[in-house]
């Protein structure tokens, strides 16, 4: 099997231990990412998306978070088995992350330029003035005047802070960028700017991106492949065309159906009935069982495998007929 896969996640299981119970956050996730590819990881809040990203980077909260199974193979090496020292070399340098809330992601008492410089000097043995120059170059790359190097985060607006975060993440030209809901906290107009910036930069630097979001519009504008995640599992995976034009899994179809359309002015909104299942108490069968219109008795107990319904389009459903998930 050819392997120009940058990242392969195999059968990943992650749990969180609280005082009361065990939260099964990630339940057997498989993902692959090629070099230069942009994967959209779509799901509701609490589905496990952020957990996957943090597991890749090795920054799960200890001691509550624990990887209980699986591998994360990056550039051919299982980085879950790396000691902390090894992971630190990768963090920020080969794999970088941008976070959801730009307002709190930056250290309020450090100058913005210095925070970018920190990322650079951690992974490069170059002199202080060169680090500073590179940091200023990064600022310009994200559209911020280099003179603002010495300013503090509170002097920037939300959109500009997010640009700084992007600059910080891309400072060492990482192979893989994990973007955790990078535009969720921003105004729609700023969202568009930031997404354009990301699109340009990833093309220029040939960065692979995993874009975590709950917003299908964002996915449409920038992602090549899409993975839909529900209750810690990938329930559907494919190219953007496959997912948008031929959504198969009942959950994915529910997501698309629930989007309001400007054309149907009189039609009521179509939400997916019910709520996300309790992650401490998951159904051993299909996890979408209690919210699915097409569920049968078999769905309750049998855990569906991921089936390939054509050209790599994977769906995790027991009842697939003619490209329609849940068919009876």
């Amino acid at each position: 099997m050819e392997n120009d896969n940058l990242l392969e996640i195999r059968n990943l299981f992650v749990e969180f231990h609280t005082d009361d119970a065990v939260v099964h956050a990630v339940n057997g996730v498989d993902l692959t990412l090629k070099k230069g590819e942009t994967l959209g990881l779509v799901g509701e809040t609490g589905a496990g998306k952020t957990t996957i990203a943090r597991t890749i980077l090795g920054i799960l909260p200890k001691p509550q978070g624990e990887v209980t199974g699986g591998e994360v193979v990056f550039e051919g090496e299982d980085i879950l088995k790396l000691p902390e020292r090894g992971m630190r070399k990768i963090r920020g340098d080969k794999i970088a992350m941008i976070f959801q809330d730009p307002m709190t992601a930056l250290n309020p008492i450090d100058r913005v330029g210095d925070q970018i410089a920190e990322a650079i000097s951690l992974h490069n043995q170059i002199g202080k003035s060169d680090v500073r120059l590179r940091a200023m170059d990064m600022l310009e790359m994200v559209g911020i005047p280099r003179e603002r190097y010495n300013e503090f985060p509170h002097q920037f607006s939300g959109g500009m802070k997010q640009r700084v975060v992007i600059a910080m993440a891309l400072a060492c030209n990482p192979q893989l960028l994990l973007a955790d809901e990078p535009t969720t906290a921003l105004d729609v107009t700023i969202q568009a700017q930031v997404l354009n910036l990301m699109r340009d930069l990833k093309k220029k630097l040939n960065t692979s991106v995993i874009l975590i979001t709950h917003d299908l519009g964002v996915v449409a504008s920038i992602c090549e492949t899409v993975a839909v995640i529900y209750a810690g599992e990938i329930v559907e995976y494919g190219t953007a065309e496959q997912i948008f034009d031929h959504a198969t899994h009942p959950y994915t179809r529910g997501l698309f159906d629930s989007l309001p359309s400007i054309d149907d002015k009189d039609v009521k909104l179509k939400p997916i009935k019910g709520l996300m299942p309790d992650p401490t108490n998951l159904n051993p069968g299909c996890k979408f069982y209690d919210r699915c219109e097409y569920a049968t008795a078999a769905c309750k107990d049998t855990h569906p495998e991921a089936l390939d319904i054509g050209e790599g389009h994977l769906v995790r459903c027991l009842h697939i007929d003619n490209g329609e998930g849940g068919a009876k």
């Binding site: 009361d20 119970a21 108490n281």
Partner: protein
């Protein structure tokens, strides 16, 4: 499949509190001390001022479980009665300062504007002098007595409790869920009762609990320097002051009341800490 119980707010707080073993220990000790104080005449074998000059500085024995002091007074009885005096100083000062402080804080916080300003200036009066110094000055001027010490401590404490409640009310009042409640047309009083009060009062409840411990300490300090409870009252601070001159040969006269103070204040602090964690578990970890 385990179902999680759906508890109401105060039941949830109680549940979290019970899980904290140290807080439970604190609570038990507090109850014991209060019972000892209330039942002192019943529990104590002797009166606190009954002298027996034939048996001064007696070693612990069946008649005097903890020995006697320089006037032959039974140490155990004095400790038991001391619970009364010390606890009354702590509770009295806290209750008094709460009545005024919380009222002032509530008025200032809810109405704002000029009223708020006046009340805050008034509070500034009592807080521009450090707390202990204020207590010393006021109780010295009023005259050394247990009651005056209580008054002094309450006055010095009012600004603190007023400001705390005011701050809580200010922060809760503008919070979004109040707006949400108004948006669904919840009437004023209902809003206040259901939303503002439980959340605003939480820091004050914790502060009151810790405050009782603090007032017991300051009360003992005042008595120690002669400004609070006066002999022959068996207040623990008083006992420490009397024991001081005899420390060299009779250290137990200093150790016993000190340990009593420490256990009591520690109990209040443990309970107060546990209460704070239970009321807002986000603060814990």
């Amino acid at each position: 499949m385990k179902k999680k119980k759906n508890r109401g707010h105060s039941a949830e707080v109680w549940y979290r509190l019970k899980k904290n073993k140290l807080a439970v220990v604190g609570m038990i000790v507090i109850i014991i001390v209060i019972l000892v104080a209330v039942l002192a005449p019943v529990l104590a074998p002797y009166s606190y001022d009954k002298q027996d000059l034939m048996h001064t500085f007696a070693k612990p024995s069946a008649e005097h479980l903890l020995g006697t002091d320089k006037f032959g007074r039974d140490n155990l009885s004095r400790l038991i009665y001391g619970a009364r005096s010390s606890l009354s100083m702590g509770l009295g000062a806290t209750v008094l300062s709460c009545i005024f402080g919380l009222t002032l804080g509530a008025i200032a916080g809810y109405f704002g504007g000029v009223v708020d300003n006046i009340i805050m200036r008034f509070c500034d009066l009592f807080s521009c002098v450090p707390y202990l110094l204020m207590c010393v000055v006021i109780s010295a001027i009023l005259g050394p007595s247990l009651m005056n010490a209580i008054i002094a401590m309450s006055l010095a404490h009012i600004p603190g409790s007023a400001r705390l409640l005011r701050a809580s009310i200010l922060s809760v009042r503008d919070m979004e869920y109040i707006e949400a409640a108004k948006a669904i047309d919840s009437p004023h009083a209902h809003t206040i009762l259901k939303h503002v009060i439980p959340n605003a009062i939480a820091p004050s409840i914790v502060s009151i609990t810790m405050g009782i411990g603090g007032c017991i300490l300051s009360g003992a300090t005042l008595s120690f320097v002669g400004l609070g409870a006066q002999p022959p009252l068996a207040e623990w601070g008083c006992m420490l002051s009397e024991g001081r001159s005899l420390m060299r040969d009779h250290m137990e006269l200093v150790l016993l009341p000190g340990i009593a103070i420490m256990i009591t204040v520690l109990a209040f602090n443990l309970f107060g800490d546990g209460l704070r964690d239970a009321l807002d578990p986000r603060l814990k970890n």
